[in-house]
């Protein structure tokens, strides 16, 4: 029988469960997303309450849609981090219960690695420079010596934070990227805003403050949205170009929630073209958080023997992607496999 893995995602606003077969076929992908009050961000406890309420329903739908019986599973993978503690604990509780009850291995998955692996699966990218952009990440990584190494990242807030925190001020709900993108299309002019590149890093906190200040001093909302989006995406494109030139990679993979932004996509395609690299972009619905990214990474990890005992499967709210050993990718070393 084919090895399939059930993956659970609950790091932030999305509670998702998916079943993926060994060859990467997504048999089911069910999600229920917590929506914050407009003008507010994610409230961790409220999001966790939401996840607890929908967990059983989502789990059942994941099995039904996949036409898979629980005894056909070979493993249960869980995003143990990074993310919001209360949210992570809901998913982890379900995963531990499933693993114990079905007597199959529990596989620890780093949420960010999940974004990378689902991106590689969906696009066919082999050895890309990864641009991971979401509410939780703005990082540029390349694989080397058994781990994803960070070549550049944000020194403060992420690009997703930038959009969401700006949106809160105008009472839009998070995630607000798509709404800002729409408003930007109606802009008439570019307003000068702080463009902060530090080596291969970016910093968005000053851009957020300046954008809000422009808005409060009577700037046109559409123009501010357009200019903020232009500046933030251009800054990222520049540091991606620096990392691409530095690492000499031939592929670029854009993944994570903000990968759905068309302006960012087009800028990174330009960057790839300038350096004769191929640009790959994850397409919705696999840009935003989903169970499939955890299930598929679970398949890969399980194959390489990465498992965790239930008693030791603590959630890791601050689990950085550069700290995860990846024994399933070539160029990796089998030694020192991460067992949490």
């Amino acid at each position: 029988m084919e090895l399939s893995c059930l993956g659970i995602e609950s790091t932030a606003h999305t509670f998702g469960i998916s079943i993926v077969s060994e060859n990467g076929e997504i048999l089911s992908d069910v999600r229920d997303v917590y929506h914050s009050t407009p003008g507010k961000g994610i409230h961790p406890r409220e999001a966790a309450d939401h996840h607890s309420e929908v967990a059983a329903k989502v789990l059942l739908a994941a099995f039904n849609n996949a036409r898979t019986a629980p005894d056909e599973l070979r493993g249960v993978s869980i995003a143990l981090g990074p993310g919001l503690g209360p949210c992570l604990r809901v998913g982890a509780t379900v995963a531990r219960a499933m693993s114990s009850y079905l007597n199959v291995p529990l596989v620890p998955v780093n949420h960010a690695i999940g974004h990378i692996e689902i991106g590689a699966l969906m696009t066919g990218a082999k050895d890309p420079l990864v641009v991971l952009v979401s509410g939780g990440h703005t990082a540029i990584a390349a694989f080397s010596g058994g781990r994803w190494r960070i070549f550049g990242e944000t020194e403060d807030i992420t690009i997703g934070n930038l959009f969401d925190m700006f949106a809160r001020e105008i009472d839009l709900p998070s995630p607000a990227g798509p709404e800002i993108e729409k408003l930007a299309q109606k802009a008439s002019k570019f307003i000068s805003l702080p463009y902060v590149v530090k080596g291969n890093d970016v910093s968005y906190s000053g851009l957020l403050t300046a954008s809000l200040a422009k808005l409060k001093s009577g700037g046109c909302l559409e123009d501010v949205c357009y200019s903020m989006q232009e500046v933030s995406c251009s800054m990222l494109a520049e540091v991606v170009e620096r990392s691409l030139a530095y690492t000499g990679k031939r592929e670029l993979l854009l993944t994570g929630g903000v990968a759905a932004n068309k302006v960012l996509q087009s800028k990174l395609e330009d960057v790839a073209q300038l350096h004769d690299a191929t640009a790959y972009t994850v397409k919705p619905p696999f840009t935003g958080d989903n169970g499939a990214q955890i299930a598929w990474t679970g398949v890969l990890a399980l194959r390489a023997g990465v498992v965790v005992q239930v008693a030791k499967s603590n959630v890791k709210p601050k689990w950085r992607l550069e700290d995860v050993d990846i024994p399933w990718r070539s160029g990796s070393t089998k030694t020192n496999i991460q067992r949490c």
């Binding site: 390349a142 990242e153 020194e155 463009y195 251009s234 620096r242 601050k318």
Partner: protein, 219 residues
């Protein structure tokens, strides 16, 4: 054949960086480097023009300032901000990035310590580099030559100096993960000897900046 401002002799593209194209050309019968910041299709013109023009004139100014601090940089021959072009001395030397893979361990440590001394001198003189990577350091036989000052700034703040250290730390960590601790330690030894700053204080600052990023333990 040499002509006025070296623009008549066929220049040869020797390096295409992320930001600029580097040409080797003739400058009054001497080889020279022409660095031109090229327009980026991914930036709106208004933004792109300002970035290229200001970084070009700023880079030339900073190279001059840094040279006065006794840090080796290429000599500047000519600047044209409107075409985002600088013509400078041709330093015929490999980058530290190329050299680090070839050198024996003790020499690697010595090079990193030497780079630390150079950066420390700049910081002591109130200048931060802003993009201190291994590609931006040329390895002459016995000295190091620092290049690419487009992101440098005047600063007496530990905050800005700490960003320089953090950027270099990240470069070593991502490219030389096995040896990075000893290389960075050697770098900091050199740095504290010339910057007038204690290694302990600056490392604390660097970690403080790092922790503002995502998913670092704030403890």
């Amino acid at each position: 054949m040499s002509t006025f401002r070296g623009e008549a002799v066929q220049p040869k593209l020797i390096y295409k960086g992320a930001e600029a194209e580097i040409y080797l050309q003739d400058w009054f019968n001497e080889p020279a480097i022409r660095k031109t910041r090229i327009a980026k299709p991914y930036r709106v013109e208004q933004l792109d023009e300002v970035i290229r023009r200001t970084r070009t004139s700023h880079e030339a100014l900073m190279m001059h300032e840094v040279k006065r601090l006794g840090v080796p940089v290429p000599a500047i021959f000519h600047i044209n901000p409107s075409t985002a072009t600088i013509v400078m001395e041709y330093v015929k030397a490999p980058t530290l990035k190329e050299e680090l893979n070839l050198l024996p361990k003790s020499t690697k440590l010595a090079k990193c310590e030497n780079l630390g001394i150079k950066l420390g001198q700049m910081h002591a003189g109130g200048i931060v580099h802003g993009d201190i990577t291994l590609s931006n350091v040329l390895c002459d036989s016995d000295s190091l030559c620092i290049i690419d000052f487009g992101l440098s700034t005047y600063s007496e703040e530990d905050e800005d100096k700490g960003v320089d250290l953090l950027l270099f730390n990240r470069v070593l960590k991502s490219s030389y993960y096995d040896a990075y601790e000893s290389l960075f330690k050697a770098f900091m030894t050199g740095y504290s000897s010339s910057s007038g700053k204690s290694s302990k204080v600056m490392l604390k600052k660097m970690h403080q900046i790092e922790r503002r990023g995502r998913y670092f333990d704030r403890a």
